[in-house]
Symmetry: D2
Subunit: 339 residues, 4 copies
């Protein structure tokens, strides 16, 4: 296979971002896009991007024998169903995170994917960030020795609207899920226990919507190491994405990325740039790498590095975290052998 | 009062350090030092430091009417008794941390101090570090707004011997107690809940001695904020002492201190200095400031800023952390009104 | 004008880089490429890039009425002639630096461009680097007040071959010319005096070829400020591209860019990433911005920000530097009013 | 010799600073201090410092057979005479920089010192700064290979008064002299050529007083390396003291020192501490080390590491720099073999 014909399901911000990044890859033809709302604006945009078909029904894409791979960028509640249908239609699948809000649904979808033998990559874009990848590689190379403690700081610059919060699956499923995946990616070991603490400190409306906006989650890993994640829905200085892994031979830290290296010293202060504002700025290149890898996996029939199993595990941790928050005690996670 | 005559109880490393720092203060006369082991080496050292009396019995210091203030640098198990005796003898007291291994004993000692009306300062030297003090001041000035999350990383460069571990009171009482105090100092609010996780990852002998060497402790504060401390008995790259406090208007971070600012770039790498090796290097100046404040408090009859109450609170948190580690669930701390 | 048809003269490394960057711009059609050596490899590459015409004679491009703009990426000795022919053919021109090795030739070429009324942008790519642009903007906004001293460090990771050195025009014309342009860009004032010091410290073969490999050049600007550039042909730790501008209200510094923010601390050392290796890595995005601006200038008929005049001024400074090096005394530059 | 009796000539800021630092050394007795103005304040201060004799005539110190070493902290115009008299009186000498404003006078004074066989240390305090010492050691150990380029940035936070300027010997003799010494110290090679450029940009009154306030000085060293120093009398953000030495195996940089490591991120900016304000803050510890070394040299009869020869060489470079500034051309320095 030397070229790949693609269909996109969901023409929101992230769907359109993937289109732009896919268009940088020579072997790609984006034939179709579906969205429940097809506006004139969308049609014009699709034309500019040389996408031939715009439809309200994603089944048009699944039924199109030319389309070999689909990107699922529709709301989370639709993911599991579309995955199953797409797998049965023999399409390779790139699906945004999370796979679903229900571990059972995700497991069912993965079973269909497994049976169909198609590729499924889950959109944990942060794995493709050069900084975190470097730390991952240092750990693998043994640069920090045996890992003892993992620390992840993950703070958004501003909270989403309360409507979004209500349908988000909650902080752990919506936001921390990235950190749960990152924890597994960096540590190279599965999470076996989760203890979550949360608070509503950013906006009472988030609490009224039944969610929290601030959290500290402690993890125990199968390899005996400990981990801790701290989250906030609002860091006024910008997107705060840092991590550290500490082991018996040293520690590796990934700091925030800034627009420039410029430092200004005046009579008042020495100042440097703030962190890149949000995920579109910080993970610009990671999104490119992410789709590059998916396309390469499809074309070369190689193994997906960020798979449905990874999506499932992150969801299981998120679910355990929620349970820990509600019960006030640590929650154990049973080992799950990768199929 | 314009001069102060001092007695030192305990001529170990920290006792001798205080002597050197006290000798920088013009108003000070260090008259006597006691230690259960009086060697020729100690006598020679005392002479060099112009200390007139060397004795095996600390009661000689308490019975000396010239001595106005004592430094308790003897083993922790002796602290409470000496505090009580010294207070009853009308001496001002500087006591190394922790006050005791028992909250009840500490409370009893504080009651005697209270009644005697003498000064008692507890040796939480890190409060006098310029970096942490700066963060404390930024929080007080409102620079980060309302605090949401406090993070403290505290790692020693190497574990003490197993004999020390056995009589140390355990990681939380021996090492984390500094971080518990720091947490209260920076947050300006009391801890109301503690959840502790621990592991033996540095040295199995520490586990066999009944202790842990790696820990993550989550705190809830009275003001609603969350906190997390991570500890290790061994950071091979040196003493790791960092903290961050995040609030609704920003975040303030104190990084490690290094010997120099020099950076060397070669074909292999860009390298900079490691953190200062251990507490004697990192907190050199903090120890000076600490005794300066104590002497100033005694001379000016002003209020102790790091008091017996602070010592008691840190112990209560340490005790709760131990209980949480043993029971596997969070432990609540009842509010304790400062006398 | 809403689309632009382009021809590329010179299919070397930089010509091909521009092709890749131009292909990211939707309004662009790259119709033709010329090179004195047309290999099968070049033909295959051109096909992959959807370039229709591959020719050995750049006149084919100039004679093609469809082509509206050309990129001159051929050897420096050909630049002035091609600029004149292209201008007379009514093509807009992007020309790599330097315009020529002779101030007189450059002036003659600029005169033809002026008369023809076409756009000419000179390839000082570093102006489009986000870090230097930020410093430029800070100076313009008055953040450092009145500039007093400008410092530029510019070191290549490895020297070119001696054959290249021999035909390079010398260090000042080949390498420092970027820094001379940067000096004018950041300072916002013309250079009126140049004092150059040089040495052969990297490789005696460079000296035998009649050139130097290490230099310090002091500048005086029309606004009274001073400047200094230091160059080396070989910084073993990578491409070293830093600058600072100091004024009566402060100082602004642009540091090197590194691949990641990761820092690794071990028992041996604390290490961070080396600077990005060379210009292709460091200025990846600057090259994109550079062609974007040129295309935008052509399409919107707006003013070129990095013009032939800028190319001429940098050459005049380079020539003066060479003269200063040879004579051992400072060389004055007469003011040249921008046409 | 196990103790040393000291006399201080000149009770200004620097004389008093040395007193405080000398008092930290157990083997030292500061017996006498002289100053042309003996006020009640000075007497009280001397009493507090346990200095027995306060006199207006420094000859009282030279004639006191108990006094073994003197510190010359009086105005520069008096240095050479006092050095000669003190040497003839057999006293070891610590002299503030510069030794004199005249190379001939300095040479004459050094000859007397040489003949008398007493120690003479010149107060180039910056050599004792841990950062610069580290760079010096890295160079000596070969960490950067063969040195190619040395860069020193040295800027004061505010200019002295015009009266001071007038009697200062000019920027090069008063301020840059430290950098000339640092250049020799770091490079480990003598300066053979100096090219100076200067400007009056900070304050026209400095120009009216016949001096400059901004300078760039290029150096050539005996080992073939190049160097550049940039100076300003006023960096509004604080004392700016940085240097870098670049060689064929790498580069070593010493950055400014800041009060704390604290960094504050808010919605407006990320800010860190400014450099330590001025020499008293920045070189606090260097001044301590400096007198420690002098005392150690006297007590152990070891070799002075910052000698009269070093003082002379720095003056010769300063004089050459002035000549270069006045003539507009580089000035050669003849090699001077260390006696």
């Amino acid at each position: 296979m030397t070229t790949l014909t693609i269909g996109i399901i969901g023409a929101g911000r992230i769907g359109r971002l993937h289109v732009d990044n896919l268009r940088l890859i020579p072997q790609i033809r984006i034939k179709s896009i579906s969205d429940v709302f097809v506006t004139d604006q969308l049609k014009a945009w699709a034309e500019e991007k040389q996408i031939e078909v715009v439809t309200t029904d994603y089944h048009d894409l699944l039924n199109d024998s030319e389309i070999q791979a689909i990107f699922i960028c529709s709301p989370t509640t639709t993911h599991a169903t579309i995955i199953k249908e797409a797998a049965e239609a023999g399409k390779h699948i790139f699906c945004e995170k999370p796979v679903s809000f229900s571990v059972e649904e995700t497991e069912a979808a993965l079973a269909v994917v497994e049976k169909a033998g198609v590729k499924l990559q889950v959109g944990f874009n942060r794995r493709f960030d050069a900084n975190f990848r470097k730390v991952h590689n240092l750990v693998k190379e043994g640069a920090i020795g045996t890992p003892h403690v993992l620390k992840i700081t993950s703070r958004d610059p501003q909270p989403p609207g309360v409507d979004y919060i209500k349908s988000s699956g909650g902080l752990f499923m919506d936001m921390t899920i990235h950190d749960f995946d990152m924890a597994r990616y960096i540590m190279g070991s599965e999470v076996v226990e989760v203890s979550a603490h949360g608070a509503v400190l950013v906006d009472p409306a988030i609490g009224e919507a039944g969610d929290i906006d601030t959290a500290i989650i402690t993890l125990k890993f199968e390899n005996g190491a400990l981990g801790v994640i701290d989250n906030s829905r609002q860091a006024v200085y910008g997107y705060d994405q840092r991590l550290e892994i500490f082991g018996d031979k040293g520690t590796a830290q990934a700091d925030n990325v800034r627009e420039t290296t410029v430092e200004l010293s005046t009579v008042e202060r020495v100042e440097k740039e703030k962190p890149l504002y949000f995920f579109l700025e910080r993970y610009t290149q990671a999104y490119v790498e992410e789709v590059n890898e998916f396309i390469s996996v499809c074309l070369k029939d190689s193994e997906v590095s960020c798979s449905g199993f990874d999506g499932l595990q992150a969801e299981r941790i998120a679910k355990a975290a929620k349970q820990s928050l509600e019960t006030g005690v640590p929650v154990q996670l049973k080992p799950l052998v990768k199929a």
